[in-house]
Symmetry: D2
Subunit: 260 residues, 4 copies
Amino acid sequence: MVNILGVPFGGSSVPVIAGPCSIESKEQFLGLAQELKEMKVSFLRGGIYKLRTNPESFQGLGKEAYPIAQEVSHATGLPFTSEVTDPRQIEELHEITSMFQVGTRNMYNYDLLKELGKSSKPVLLKRAFSATYGEFLNAAEYILAAGNKNVLLCERGIRTFVNDTRNTFDINAIPFLKNRTDLPVLADPSHGTGLTELVEPVALAALAAGADGLIIEVHNDPKNALSDGQQALTTEQFKSFLDKADKILNVLGRSLHERG
Amino acid sequence: MVNILGVPFGGSSVPVIAGPCSIESKEQFLGLAQELKEMKVSFLRGGIYKLRTNPESFQGLGKEAYPIAQEVSHATGLPFTSEVTDPRQIEELHEITSMFQVGTRNMYNYDLLKELGKSSKPVLLKRAFSATYGEFLNAAEYILAAGNKNVLLCERGIRTFVNDTRNTFDINAIPFLKNRTDLPVLADPSHGTGLTELVEPVALAALAAGADGLIIEVHNDPKNALSDGQQALTTEQFKSFLDKADKILNVLGRSLHERG
Amino acid sequence: MVNILGVPFGGSSVPVIAGPCSIESKEQFLGLAQELKEMKVSFLRGGIYKLRTNPESFQGLGKEAYPIAQEVSHATGLPFTSEVTDPRQIEELHEITSMFQVGTRNMYNYDLLKELGKSSKPVLLKRAFSATYGEFLNAAEYILAAGNKNVLLCERGIRTFVNDTRNTFDINAIPFLKNRTDLPVLADPSHGTGLTELVEPVALAALAAGADGLIIEVHNDPKNALSDGQQALTTEQFKSFLDKADKILNVLGRSLHERG
Amino acid sequence: MVNILGVPFGGSSVPVIAGPCSIESKEQFLGLAQELKEMKVSFLRGGIYKLRTNPESFQGLGKEAYPIAQEVSHATGLPFTSEVTDPRQIEELHEITSMFQVGTRNMYNYDLLKELGKSSKPVLLKRAFSATYGEFLNAAEYILAAGNKNVLLCERGIRTFVNDTRNTFDINAIPFLKNRTDLPVLADPSHGTGLTELVEPVALAALAAGADGLIIEVHNDPKNALSDGQQALTTEQFKSFLDKADKILNVLGRSLHERG
């Protein structure tokens, strides 16, 4: 079990990490975070540095987002996680985040992983969309071997011949990995599907298959999101989802984590 | 909704089809079917003609299995389904099965599908492990266009770069297809994973994602099964699974189908 | 080496099979065949029964094409091959074709393969676009084991995450298979790419990698073809290609086959 | 056309880059380089920092290799290229290499690409084994947009369901990319196949399809190589290959590049 500032991953209490794809402004992030605080959300997410396929797409606010993230995390009392894309960001992001995220495009970036292995902050390691289970577990090993034992694995969909969905969420990965490692295994149904309408059913599926946590993109105004709006849930959709999620977990002897 | 001899697919009552990969003998199939009869199983499955990659593998009992299937179905009162692999089998199998199954290797066999379109028996159409959603829906269209409106779709895993599991169960397919067709969408977690230990979690996931039914391989003695033993559940594992399945369905306002 | 009516596959003389995707009319097929006769073409191809994803697409002329095929083959002196999609067609097509083709969607249709194994006509077996090398060789084994030793393998592209091309031509398959079997290994760059502009470079590549023959779609008027026009070569493009092909083969101690 | 220290990529003269997977010792690299110098080799390659799936595998000599690389490049008069895996290596490697290599695992490492865009040294950008053509071209755009116009693209195989070969060399990519960009398109048949016996036929295929250069792993003693020995050519195999390569290129109006 990995306990991060009182949020336990890997036990009968199942935490949900939620927030926008990118931090776009203080108003956006604070408003959303305050809504999420009223729900069973344990952790905030919000992109600061975004890896985008097209160099002309919005790449995140960068340093401009640092004070926003700190203020919102402080105001809501929720820990915050964001993606690190370059070893040279680690020192600064260490001050801002309670947990580092490694995105799908960086799972093979072993130099970055080795640096994170020296950090005292936990790491949420997303599976590369092209990674075998063995490669995924080996990537975690790069962090663990360097001394950082607080690693969370996250299945977020793989690339297949199917292109009606952004990725193919590999539901098999959840029980397969849980049988082979003691690390918590989370699910990201937002990237795993890429389509708002599929997020709830696939998130429920991930919980039914044993996921130890979820990370979900929620946006106050998906249609005007600067990135990934087509896969974000509205706060209303998200609230309705959490209710079902808790009941599914109850069947399996678990429940959504609630901050004390 | 497709109603087959009183078994409704596509409504709030969710049927389970269970049985061995292959019918191996009367003793094997009858014994297993009698155990299944005592559980919430609505339909029997059992292979008569098996398509095996290697021409020297066990190919099913063929005609020898006809009287066995009929007797077991009669003795238990459970309808029976089996795979048809050649248009020339249709006439004979029509007498034996309550529903034709089209396996993953035959989804593109449009001549077979057209013939089944003329049949009065329902068809359980499995997705080719290489099929896009569009190809899958078009294959169903071959049957529907020929006049047979009783088609069940079945997601059974796709081929990806992952080879620790036999297939990658495409959980996204369940809600995606249900949003695009009125045909019931079933799940086959046995082939979708290929590993006994993954069958329960992935089957529960499929139900959580909205599957309208399940088809699962159960065997009295998986270690000695003539085919696919490594993915079969024992009757005990299966019984314990059904209990959880029913509770997951209840969360979603559904329940396992029970024969009246 | 497989010798079909004087056309040797698998030796230093490399035959090319060419023709339209579908036989559309006598005028079309005869006109094209007469042009091809003047080039280094050893065999005619032309679809009679077409497997199309959409049931409303053109499905080939069927029986109507039989006399056309016979007349054109007779008039040009070129042997003719066409795809068989149903075991019930074998008897009739036996009269029309010098070689049966099994298309990519039927490679797993083992009932069809077993029937073809009993035929005295050679079989050009295309790889399923989802088949491993092992499955491909096992499919050939179904035909060989039934007694027909004249089997040609044909790589025609596989399905991958790439969707800018129709398929990904698996160039590795050519030398891999040639190292593991004595059967001739042909290449189909038309389906392997799906784009006219890629056919020549990939066809030359296949020859450089050791292919024992080619099957290429050529059409007198690709823009108005009833099927697959976007991947057909014009006769002019094809002629220019054959010239380069012969020179590439010469480097490797081979040459294009010419009818005596 | 990209001209690097007198080696032109993208014209009728086609350069070959060769060398060991990793620099293992001065003796190994110098001995091999002197043999390669006598052949039509234009550029040396040799890994200094190796990204290995398993953290316990040999990771390259690192800084220890710097003087070796410099000495060997000087002694042979051949320019040298090596992989950069971390933006913090750029400054040091700038002194050692004539061209940076970005490996398949770092194609999505946009922070690294942006830094390389500011460098005055050319960049050989390998395709991620999971990248679409669009993603590949966009990755190059990250370097170009930052000001560095000397980018070489390199197809090195993609990950597919085929696992008898290490990767599936995507031969279609060569002509497809050449039709869409003016950047030179190279081929890496060593990683594209992963098997020594396939390197020659696939390398010849890449040239036949229009590749503007090759990068090939050669080792004096493949069986005892510290990495990737199973895909290396011996110097003898390599020499025999170069002879055929030149002749294939001649058919297409090109030839192997020779240092003046």
